[in-house]
């Protein structure tokens, strides 16, 4: 019973955060802020949804946990790679004050 409620609550939270993440990437001003909103909210959203299902259905728990772990590892990585890529093709972050971009003059060093 408690597990049931807990699971449903987790799923609800997760779904809401999935929605917020999507809303975030829609409303934020520039790519990097969108990425921030997108990554964080969807990661938590997906994690909590998946684990919620795992709690509702105990024999699924281990597999859902694996999915959750995988999402938690992979999401920030793809986000980071995208951010790096965006910066490399010259998308400037939205800044209120000039000169806050300390990454601007860093180039990719060659692999040894």
């Amino acid at each position: 019973m408690i597990l049931n409620i807990l699971g449903n609550v987790l799923i609800t939270i997760g779904v809401i955060f999935l929605f917020l993440g999507a809303l975030g990437i829609f409303r934020m001003p520039d790519v990097y802020s969108r990425m921030q909103a997108g990554t964080k909210a969807t990661t938590l959203g997906a994690l909590s949804t998946v684990i919620g299902v795992g709690i509702l259905q105990p024999e699924w728990f281990w597999k859902t946990l694996l999915i959750a772990i995988f999402i938690a590892i992979s999401n920030p990585i793809s986000s980071h790679a995208l951010a790096r890529g965006s910066h490399k093709i010259g998308i400037k972050p939205f800044m209120k004050k000039e000169g806050l971009d300390s990454y601007e003059n860093v180039s990719i060093e060659e692999e040894k």
């Binding site: 779904v15 990425m35 299902v53 259905q57 995208l82 093709i89």
Partner: protein, 82 residues
């Protein structure tokens, strides 16, 4: 309950797609795609739960893994790697 979940997920998909269509830069659209796949991964788990079939979870797992590689490839292309 299920209606609430469905509503939120539909809204999430809607906004992600909207960003994908509008997004001024390529990265925006890739972010939208990444978001869409994450939403789908979670959504598939939920759907599997609704259909009450344990084996459906496999799809979701593989989905997460592979869409990650896909997005990473596009990101690597963007930064001039690949």
């Amino acid at each position: 309950m299920i209606y609430i979940y469905a509503a939120f997920i539909i809204l999430a998909v809607f906004f992600a797609v909207l960003r994908g269509l509008l997004g001024p830069t390529t990265s925006d659209r890739v972010v939208a795609l990444d978001n869409l796949t994450t939403i789908s991964t979670a959504g598939l788990v939920l759907l599997g739960f609704v259909f009450q079939r344990f084996i459906y979870i496999d799809v979701s797992l593989i989905y997460g893994v592979l869409s990650f590689v896909g997005v990473l490839t596009i990101a690597r292309y963007l930064e001039g790697g690949l």
